[in-house]
């Protein structure tokens, strides 16, 4: 069964949590005891309707303030597929939690309040969807009930977004617009009775129809070694297996491989998944690979195919970053850079530019990147990393920056 990961986006109070609640409700994904709990919680809040946002706002502070602070992961299935939804906060302050939720998503649902139209968060979230290269964005114009379900309002919002969309989108990204009312269940799983002028799909219809053609299995083959399996038992005395999850591409038994960064070469003897032996394995598979020769390989090394172009061994490079910490990014400072499972020190030599998300223009000569800002940096690592350009091979082109002292994850980067 296949899995589709989705993330919500949009400003505070645009109705993200309500939308997810509605989707669960209408797909019969909520059990009776949870609906009863929802009814009594809604009543306690003095509401005369079911507040579906309470389903996902699971923290005490969230319910007290009526806002989403951290990302919640929600699950439901249809006969077609399993869905994992990240319901994210809309407040600028919590953008890092929004990015956390969006990083694995293949579909981004960006909500816009029909009364307010496009706001700065719309632009920020479109930029983030582009930065992460999320293949599909559905711009949900919500609260249509509050604008009398007027087609003109919907069209005006669509129109006002067209320039921004053209600026942020990349080749292969699908963008669509959908008029909805989360509160009244219009165009969520049922066609909107109130909007006969809209002839497109419902939200669920769009999701069910979306076919994400992963190109990862055809990208260059990359296998980062996570763990060396050495049982040292009698039965497996000389056994030495390299365990890891294939980031991209395909590996087959008999393939000649090269180890990065050492450059040694060997041939794949077996590809194992628990007690079964496979002929080949592709991107996403967690396997254990053994080689025909005994060479020195340790955690953090990457296996690539000897026949393919070698992964660039980056030491000095430029990257787009999104800053996720209250302490600003400052050039000259050393951070820990984690690329996949591999960690090395990195020094930021320069901030080349900062992106103004609202206007999509770049400013040069900035001295710091503040929380939630997006920019381009130049950096140098202590050890080379076997990374690809993010746009060419997303599974092997992203990294995080970690503060050496607080150990916190302070930024996310995308190799240019």
């Amino acid at each position: 069964m296949d899995i589709l990961r989705i993330a919500t986006a949009g400003s505070v109070d645009d109705g993200k949590s309500t939308l997810i609640g509605r989707l669960l409700y209408e797909t019969n994904s909520i059990t009776k005891d949870k609906i009863e709990a929802l009814e009594s919680a809604s009543k306690r809040k003095g509401l005369d309707f079911l507040d579906l946002s309470l389903l996902t706002d699971g923290l005490i502070a969230e319910r007290e303030q009526g806002i989403t602070i951290d990302v919640a992961h929600i699950y439901f299935s249809t006969p077609t597929r399993k869905y994992i939804i990240a319901d994210t906060p809309g407040h600028v302050e919590y953008t890092r939690n929004m990015v956390t939720g969006a990083s694995n998503a293949k579909v981004s649902l960006i909500l816009v309040d029909a009364r307010q139209g496009v706001v700065e968060q719309t632009a920020r979230h479109l930029s983030i969807a582009a930065m992460l290269r999320i293949p599909k964005v559905i711009i949900c114009v919500n609260k249509m009930d509050l604008v009398q379900y007027q087609e003109s309002t919907f069209n005006a919002i669509k129109e006002s977004l067209s320039e921004l969309v053209t600026q942020t989108t990349f080749e292969g990204q699908e963008i669509s617009f959908l008029p909805i009312s989360s509160l009244y269940g219009q165009n969520i799983t049922q066609k909107a009775s109130e909007m006969p002028w809209y002839s497109g799909n419902t939200l669920l219809g769009e999701l069910e129809a979306f076919e994400y053609a992963s190109t990862l299995a055809h990208a260059p083959a990359r296998f980062p070694v996570q763990f060396v399996v050495r049982p040292m038992t009698e039965a497996y005395h000389d056994y030495r297996g390299y365990a890891g999850k294939i980031s991209s591409g395909t590996f087959k038994v008999g393939d000649s491989i090269r180890v990065l960064p050492t450059g040694q070469e060997s041939t794949i003897a077996t590809i194992e998944k628990f007690d079964s032996k496979l002929d080949q394995a592709i991107a996403g598979d967690s396997v254990t690979i053994t080689l025909t020769t005994d060479i020195d390989i340790s955690r953090g090394n990457t296996l690539v195919l000897a026949s393919e172009d070698q992964a660039p061994q980056l030491k000095d490079f430029s990257a787009q970053v999104c800053w996720l910490d209250h302490t600003a990014l400052t050039p000259g400072k050393t951070y820990l850079l984690q690329h996949g499972i591999n960690m090395t020190k990195a020094k930021i030599s320069q901030i080349t530019e900062r992106l103004d998300v609202a206007t999509q223009t770049a400013t040069e000569g900035v001295s710091s990147l503040q929380l939630n800002e997006i920019g381009t940096i130049a950096l140098r690592t202590a050890q080379p990393i076997a990374a690809d350009q993010y746009a060419a091979n997303p599974a092997n082109g992203a990294f995080i920056l970690i503060d050496e002292f607080s150990n916190s994850t302070v930024g996310v980067g995308f190799v240019k």
Binding site: I3, H73, S77, S286
Partner: protein
Amino acid sequence: MQTIQDKIGHFPRQLEDESIYILREVAAQFERPALLFSGGKDSITLVRLAQKAFFPGKIPFPLVHIDTGHNFPETIEFRDWLAKETGAELIVRYVQDSINQGKAKEESGKYASRNVLQTVTLLDTIEEFKFDACIGGARRDEEKARAKERIFSVRDDFGQWDAKRQRPELFDMLNGRIAVGENVRVFPISNWTELDVWNYIKEEKMEIPSIYYSHKRQVIERDGMLWADSEYLNKEADEIPFEATVRFRTVGDMTCTAAVSSDATDIDVIIEEILSAEISERGARIDDKRSEAAMEKRKQQGYF
């Protein structure tokens, strides 16, 4: 006839790949990891995944069981069997010892349970062995505070979870760096649902404790639920035990897990029952019913 697979599809193997990846990161990034084993289906699934992740090597961390003394005997029997079967090291620590040492106090009244007390024993055990990572079988679909948890969830030296200070967790990159005294709770099956777990148990033909299947047992009825009768349950005068045919959907202590009436003797029927169930899995956990925020509050205190 429609089979279970027609209805719910095959288990999404991608979830297994992701969980194995997480377990290998734990083994590589930490010095003293441990797998918190409760005897329930989720932690049994974890053990299975750990077996696969390091095969043909052994599971490179111990299974740690915090024994409340109120466990079902079938759970304990199963635990010992599983440790033997997998060759994993088993560490057991007892809530009774914490009570004897005066660190924890037995609750009173008819709802008394040792569920909250086990946090004390757990934190002591973490300190005793200097565990820096504790792997747990919690899933995000269980409960709404759980839905907020990261895969690598950092706890301070009092074991506390600070929901507002969670680290960003991007793509599949897991940052396990911690300061001295801190530890990380790791949840490899975060993205599995209850049905995924059952579907996996079915496809893998895994053994599970017998109490998950239908059996006859003495129960009492309380608050519209069936409670297993035992010497640990504080009964009121009018709560008279009777025999019923039941099974457990979720397994915790005898004092805080309710049974469901069921004739399900095989896993297909269990899955059918879950598909048509009107209440959620946690609905049978009396410990969660204490308040709307029960889980978050326990997690702040160091509960797993």
